[in-house]
């Protein structure tokens, strides 16, 4: 089955218990759909999912961005650098 690499940081990483997951990718799946499937598996993500930023292959993307097998998809809590 096709897969993507999911990266999780900060509060999301703590909720899931790890910073990186291999995750199955359905046909023509978008980043938003993938996030929904993650929340289904890890309900603790539900609260933060709405404000999550999305990156695909280390570039900002949106929930509408279509994913390809092998993509690196990151869900980011609001940032706190500086």
């Amino acid at each position: 089955m096709d897969k993507v690499k999911v990266k999780l940081f900060a509060a999301f990483r703590e909720t899931v218990g790890q910073g990186e997951l291999d995750w199955p990718l359905g046909p023509a799946q978008t980043a938003g759909e993938l996030l929904d499937s993650l929340v289904g598996e890890y309900p603790g993500l539900a609260g933060g999912a709405k404000s999550a930023l999305v990156m695909v292959n280390r570039r900002y993307a949106t929930r509408q961005t279509a994913l390809q097998p092998g993509d690196e998809v990151a869900f980011l809590p609001p940032v706190g650098g500086g």
Partner: protein, 151 residues
Amino acid sequence: MIIKITDQPLNLQELIDDVATEANGGVVAFLGVVRRWNDGPDGQPREVHWLEYEAYKDAAEEVMRDIARQVEEKWGLTSLAMAHRVGHLEIGDPAVGVAVGAPHRGIAFEACEYAIDTLKATVPIWKKESWETGAEAGQSWVVNKESAQPE
């Protein structure tokens, strides 16, 4: 052009030297240092014990390079250097440094402020704060009010 996420102490002089060319008479630098007091979510000040910064390193450096490109597009003839530290930081430790060199100082001030504002909104870095108020203590992920929102 120095653009980096690093777990080593920041050296602002290194950033300044990187942008102070023979053509750039004005260098403006910003240094963000860990403060002892920070406002909690209720607006009340909390005493900070330490901070722990975490970055999506490769993506953060890519977004920082984007900021340098935006600055060059907007103001031209400028050079920018930017470094952010990750890991465990104590009160007084520099967390972020930005230096901008430009032929004239007005441009350097504008570009440096734009760069740090944009960093705080968009660079994928997170900060966990260990705090206490006297009555309470805890560890919290602290979000920038400038943080970008999903579309």
